[in-house]
């Protein structure tokens, strides 16, 4: 069963100056979710799904379409334009019956009460190696600026990652070779 890529037709070129326009990494993320469809819908059956940095909202929208309206979907983004964009993508692609809720937050700090309750955590982090000065922003830069090794944001999340995931829960993380995914996996 092929799940269609969520439509982004409601966005203009100008919109994508404000939040992350889906690129190869985003579509890789969708592919990974699609590949794990059986695991997600038949084994994991998450009730609380959280995406950090939804950007356009494409990944959460796709996950919600796959998993269904019996789960709640929270999206934490530091960029207010991304929070709004997520709402628009959800409205354009899903029925009003999916509970998708954006929250403006720095990583998961704004939804602390979800600690230990997240069944499925999704994160396509900023991973581009940049100057330190390009990090810490709340606009579209936040989507890709990762500091000198490209791993600043990811490292911050990994500090206490295990406290966020529910027992038996799952974390989908996108990493590029430069970030040393083997090492990340080991550290988990």
């Amino acid at each position: 069963k092929m799940l269609p890529t969520p439509s982004l037709d409601h966005f203009s070129k100008e919109d994508f100056q404000n939040f992350y326009e889906p690129h190869q990494d985003s579509f890789l993320f969708l592919d990974s979710i699609a590949q794990e469809a059986d695991y997600l819908t038949k084994k994991l059956k998450p009730k609380i799904v959280v995406e950090i940095g939804p950007g356009s909202g494409i990944v959460t929208t796709f996950a919600a379409k796959l998993i269904g309206p019996q789960a709640a979907y929270f999206c934490a983004d530091i960029n207010p334009k991304a929070c709004e964009a997520t709402l628009r993508t959800v409205a354009a692609n899903l029925t009003p019956n999916h509970a998708v809720e954006p929250v403006r937050s720095d990583l998961l700090s704004g939804i602390r009460r979800l600690k230990g309750k997240i069944d499925l955590l999704l994160f396509n982090p900023p991973y581009v190696p940049t100057e330190e000065s390009e990090t810490g922003r709340q606009d579209v830069y936040a989507a890709w600026a990762g500091g000198p090794q490209g791993t600043d944001t990811l490292k911050r999340l990994m500090e206490d990652i295990e406290s966020w995931i529910a027992p038996g829960g799952c974390f989908f993380l996108i990493a590029v070779t430069e970030n040393n995914p083997q090492k990340i996996a080991q550290e988990m």
Partner: protein, 139 residues
Amino acid sequence: RCFVRRVVRSPVGRVRRMRVLTHNFLMCSVRGCTSNNYPLTIKATQVDTVESEFNADFMRNMIPKLEWNALVASCRDLGMTIPEALPENAMEDETFLKNLHHVLNNVRIQEGALICPNCSRSYPVSQGIPNMLLTEDEV
């Protein structure tokens, strides 16, 4: 307190706004504010009511995750009432579940603020999105 009730059917209304469900998971995270920081008091200036399909599975999935006292408080802030305690047979009582569905899913906070009862820090809700970002001094 200005409390607007309106069933939203227009396409514009299809852009979602903050559910009462979400409020149940929000707390104050200012450094040093570690007690009496939940639930946040809701001071809403615009609240809309939408329609959505009742899904019993969703309700049964959410109930164990909710902090019921916080839900009672949020309803009070919004001029609604729900039972003070979760009924014994809640999971099977469809009338109860449908009323709870209305509260969690259909009542949307569009504009206002969520205020910490301990430190009075105000977290704005604008265009239906709660802003939980702290400033550098608060972290």
